[in-house]
Amino acid sequence: MAVDTTKNAVPFEMAQIPGPEMAKAYNTAVIGAIVKKAKRPLLVVGAELFEDPVMFDKAIEIGKTGVPIAATAHSIKGFVERGYTDNVTMIGLHPLTNYLRFKDWQGLDGKGQYDVVIFMGIFYKFASAMFSALKNFNRDIKRVSIDRYYHVNADMTFGNLAFDPEKYHEAIDEVIAKLAA
């Protein structure tokens, strides 16, 4: 049975309540489908993957389904160590989000702006703020979180899974399965 990723849909930092527009928590099938359907998806991964290194392998699996990866902070190291850098680009989350908010940016590969960004493994408050930047200043991009937190400023997110690593891994695997299908 699929993991229920819609539970615990309260901000991971409790006081993070921005206003009337707040994310909905979805299950893995829906999120997987949205990413799969995307024309120009971008997976953005951060340095929290180092705290749970198996996540690098999962990120790589996602990468292998054809989703390009932006490796923020020093997370590129995890990919280098695993010998997978094909469609992985090292870039800071802050400048990346700055580029994302401009409609005329041409993407990391020069081929055009993205339509869906997927965040994973990023310091909670930073990710939340970057989602907020996009939510307010470039509403053309769909904001998806597949992190272990409920992300209030995303469009689509999981509920909090931070205290159940296994379930979280399972959920990611389900998303990967959906993408690979």
């Binding site: 309260v10 991971f12 930092e13 409790m14 006081a15 921005p18 206003g19 009337p20 527009e21 951060g46 340095a47 923020t72 902070a73 020093h74 590129i76 190291k77 280098v80 160590e81 850098t85 680009t89 090292m90 870039i91 800071g92 989350l93 802050h94 400048p95 989000t97 700055n98 580029y99 908010r101 401009f102 940016w105 041409q106 990023i122 310091f123 909670y124 408050k125 930073f126 939340s128 703020a129 970057m130 907020s132 930047a133 939510k135 307010n136 200043f137 509403r139 909090n160 931070a162 205290f163």
Partner: protein, 809 residues
């Protein structure tokens, strides 16, 4: 600012009246002509601001989508909605940024104003003399106002100017005033500049009045850490930023020979400033005998982030708070531990009875007998006496309290075992400590997690408030770290004050050419993303690499808590000059102004520019030629926002920690927009597309590794010569290899010429430039034929300001 006109009468000349049409500041022995922008008003430097924000795009990440500032509200501004007043989300964010910067700016200038009144009252007007090695003596004052104060009193109009502008700017945040985010940011930059000016005035005043070091690279090493407080004495803690009351406590201890009875330990910037008090040797002779200073007798209890840990460690008998960065429930926390508290400044009165006009004996008696948890005493001298006397007299009465400093083993076990592993705490912990796990381990008898996360905890007490079991988590921490607390004894260098002209002469050329790869200014507070150690790591990384490293405030204190293999703190490892492979503790938060000052002085002393009332020109010089970068890795407060914004207006970029997204705004460059990086060649006015150097003005890094990489990168400047660029590129790539495992993807854009390339990778890099980037290489001459954004040109004179063009072509 008042032009100080009007009709006056002169004291002791009762019947003389001088009617004066217009009184202007005397123009005196200063060879510089007045520059274009003395005392700039809101719009004066707007062109410069717009230049900055055209290149460094204003980036907002709203923390709240709503506005609740007027009765039309709350308004939802999400996306493209506007408030009832017409404001859009971007402008609203700019408005909040402006507010925050003003809060920071006024914290500094109000501090300066208090010191101004107080030092004039106590010492009278003193000559403003910074000594022979500092002739460019108040660089921000000169650059911004075009004046050159000769006495303390002459800083009055400078403060008046700051205050007038602050009122103008705060007015702009009123509903229905400014409506465009760019203008809000120009106003915020103005406020940031005012902040730097207010800091300079504050620190100059205290340097003169308290005879602090005037640029002393050998400033003494002082004791730092909770373990240095002598439990055999009464311990008086002075906490905050304004040393007025604290200094009087020290003078009282000195005059009454009480140092064997009392230890005075500072927390926050007051700690640093306590140790800067000199011996009075810098005074004019006539007052040297009148005021005895004390020298370095106080101890550094710790930075702001350690306050609650000190509370839990019960290392204090009496507390004096002054202003800024004081945890607002200090009174309640002290009361719980039976520690009398004295509020010494109007800004923080905590609802306490104002006893300023009561006799000392009565006040001490009330405090010592716990008749009231604290008092407000606005007179520094009286407060100082009450503080010392209360600490000494209350100590025996606190014997029981001192004994039960830590919870007992049984209590510890009981609390730990009551944890239901409900995770509530973990939903609120800013650094995301898995406290539930930590407490669970503690219940099992494993204290290691409590030890290893002790420094990561920022002491916010959110976990305690969230815990349904009411587990006093900070008490568990204290219990598990008793040994550490006892042994927290380190050495820190006392604040040295401004950078000397002689130092600038030495480093000016290497800095502008890049052969000293940069100035790294480590500033700010105690809200670390991942523990205090990271500030030490940053400092160590860059001082080791030959950068000039400067630090101030809580960062200076926190980095003192770590030692190398030989047990030496960073201050013992490296000398304290403004030079490569040196690390200087400039001083407290207000001393940050001397970092601006040093940058300005590179322009004036090294490059011979006139600084007088010439702000944009100087800022342009710094932006184009002085490789400097600030970092605020634990940035907490609105002051950090104003400090960073002040750096930015002067052309100095800054990197901040991830919690700093709370500041909502950044300035980020777009390297994909060639046109953003067009720079003027001052020689002939031609326009040159340049590499993005520096690429950003205000940048949030996600990890300390990214922070270090970015700092190295933000030290690039168009003026780097080949050797300089080569050195900078080497560090940039080297840090990337070290922490990222690969080269940074954008290294080629910084290459103008083969000699820019780091020696150790030169061959490989040239190959890659050819194969991957399609650059033409002449392999025989090892030369780059085409590819770079611009060609190397040793006499390129980069500027962003039209009026700097020497010959129009």
């Amino acid at each position: 600012m008042d032009k100080m006109e009007g009709s006056f009468s002169v004291e002791d000349m009762q019947n003389v009246q001088i009617n004066i049409g217009a009184v202007v500041k005397e123009v005196e022995e200063w060879d510089q002509p007045m520059g274009p922008f003395p005392y700039p008003s809101i719009a004066t430097l707007r062109d410069w601001d717009f230049k900055l924000i055209n290149r460094y795009r204003v980036f907002y990440s709203p923390i709240c989508d709503r506005c609740t500032l007027c009765t039309y509200g709350p308004c939802d501004l999400t996306g493209d909605k506007r408030g009832a007043c017409g404001i859009d989300q971007a402008a609203q964010q700019g408005r909040i940024v402006l507010l925050a910067v003003l809060m920071g700016c006024t914290a500094h200038c109000a501090h300066g104003r208090h010191l101004y009144h107080w030092t004039l009252e106590k010492f009278g007007d003193l000559p403003f003399k910074m000594g022979d090695e500092i002739l460019v003596d108040a660089p921000l004052t000169r650059t911004i106002t075009g004046t050159k104060p000769k006495t303390l009193k002459e800083f009055g109009p400078v403060l008046g100017y700051v205050e007038e502008q602050v009122a103008q700017l705060l007015a702009c945040t009123h509903t229905g005033q400014e409506g465009n985010y760019r203008d809000f940011e120009s106003k915020a930059l103005h406020a940031g500049m005012l902040d730097s000016l207010g800091k300079e005035v504050s620190d100059m005043i205290q340097i003169i009045a308290y005879d602090m070091p005037r640029g002393d690279e050998d400033a003494p090493l002082v004791e730092c850490g909770m373990g240095t407080l002598d439990k055999n004495k009464a311990i008086l803690i002075t906490y905050g930023h304004n040393l007025a009351g604290s200094a009087e406590a020290m003078f009282y201890a000195e005059d009454n020979k009480l140092w064997d009875k009392v230890d005075i330990g500072g927390v926050c910037c007051t700690a640093i400033d306590n140790t800067r008090i000199g011996e009075g040797l810098g005074y004019p002779e006539e007052i040297q005998t009148k005021y005895r200073m004390v020298g370095t007798k106080a101890k550094i209890a710790g930075a702001m982030g350690w306050w609650r840990k000190m509370v839990e460690a019960n290392v204090m008998d009496c507390v004096m708070v002054d202003e800024q960065c004081v945890y607002t429930n200090a009174l309640e926390e002290c009361q719980e531990k039976k520690v009398p508290l004295i509020a010494t400044n109007e800004k923080i009165m905590l609802g306490l009875p104002d006893r300023t006009n009561d006799p000392v004996d009565e006040i001490v008696d009330d405090l010592v007998n716990f008749r009231m948890p604290g008092v407000a005493i606005i007179d520094p001298i009286k407060a100082g006496e009450v503080g010392v006397r209360t600490a000494i007299a209350v100590k025996p009465k606190r014997a029981d309290e001192r004994k039960k400093a830590f919870i007992t083993e049984e209590e510890f076990k009981k609390y730990a075992e009551s944890c239901t592993y409900c995770h509530s705490c973990q939903f609120v912990c800013p650094p995301h400590i898995k406290i539930g796990d930590v407490v669970q381990e503690a219940a099992k008898g494993n204290l290691e997690p409590l030890s290893s996360t002790y420094e990561i905890c920022v002491g916010c007490r959110r976990c305690e408030q969230a815990c349904p079991q009411d587990i006093p988590i900070l008490s568990l921490y204290a219990y598990a770290n008793q040994e550490y607390i006892k042994n927290q004894k380190f050495k820190m260098r006392a604040g040295r004050g401004p950078v000397k002209d002689t130092e600038i002469r030495r480093v000016g050329a290497p800095l502008v050419l890049g052969t000293i790869p940069g100035v790294i200014a480590i500033i700010g507070c105690a809200n670390y993303p991942n523990g205090t150690k990271e500030c030490y790591d940053i400092a160590r990384e860059f001082v080791d690499r030959g950068f000039i490293v400067t630090t101030t405030g809580c960062m200076a204190m926190d980095m003192s808590l770590y030692t190398d293999e030989d047990g030496k703190t960073i201050w013992e490892q490296f000398p304290g000059g403004f030079d490569g492979r040196n690390i200087c503790n400039i001083g407290s938060c207000v001393s940050n102004a001397h970092i601006h000052g040093a940058a300005i002085k590179v322009a004036t002393i090294f490059a011979g520019r006139n600084e007088r009332a010439n702000y944009d020109d100087i800022a342009d010089y710094i932006l184009s030629k002085v490789g400097a970068c600030g970092v605020a890795w634990g940035a907490m407060s609105q002051k950090a926002a104003s400090i960073a914004t002040g750096f930015n207006r002067l052309g100095v970029p800054a990197v901040v920690q991830p919690h700093s997204v709370m500041y909502r705004r950044a300035f980020l460059g777009r390297t994909d927009k060639k046109e953003d990086w067009e720079i003027i060649d001052a020689r002939d006015g031609s326009r040159v597309y340049c590499e993005p150097a520096p690429e950003h003005m205000l940048y949030v890094a996600e990890s300390v590794e990214e922070c270090m990489l970015m700092m190295a990168k933000l030290c690039f400047r168009p003026s780097d010569n080949s050797q300089g660029r080569m050195i900078k590129l080497t560090h940039y790539c080297d840090i990337s290899m070290k922490y990222f495992g690969c080269m940074p993807p954008d290294w080629p854009i910084y290459v103008r010429h083969a000699s820019d390339l780091p020696l150790k990778w030169k061959e490989d890099m040239m190959k890659e430039l050819e194969s991957k980037y399609g650059w033409e290489i002449d392999w025989k001459r090892k030369a780059i034929l085409s590819g770079p954004i611009r060609k190397s040109d040793v006499s390129f004179d980069p500027t962003n300001i039209e009026r700097k063009i020497r010959v129009k072509k």
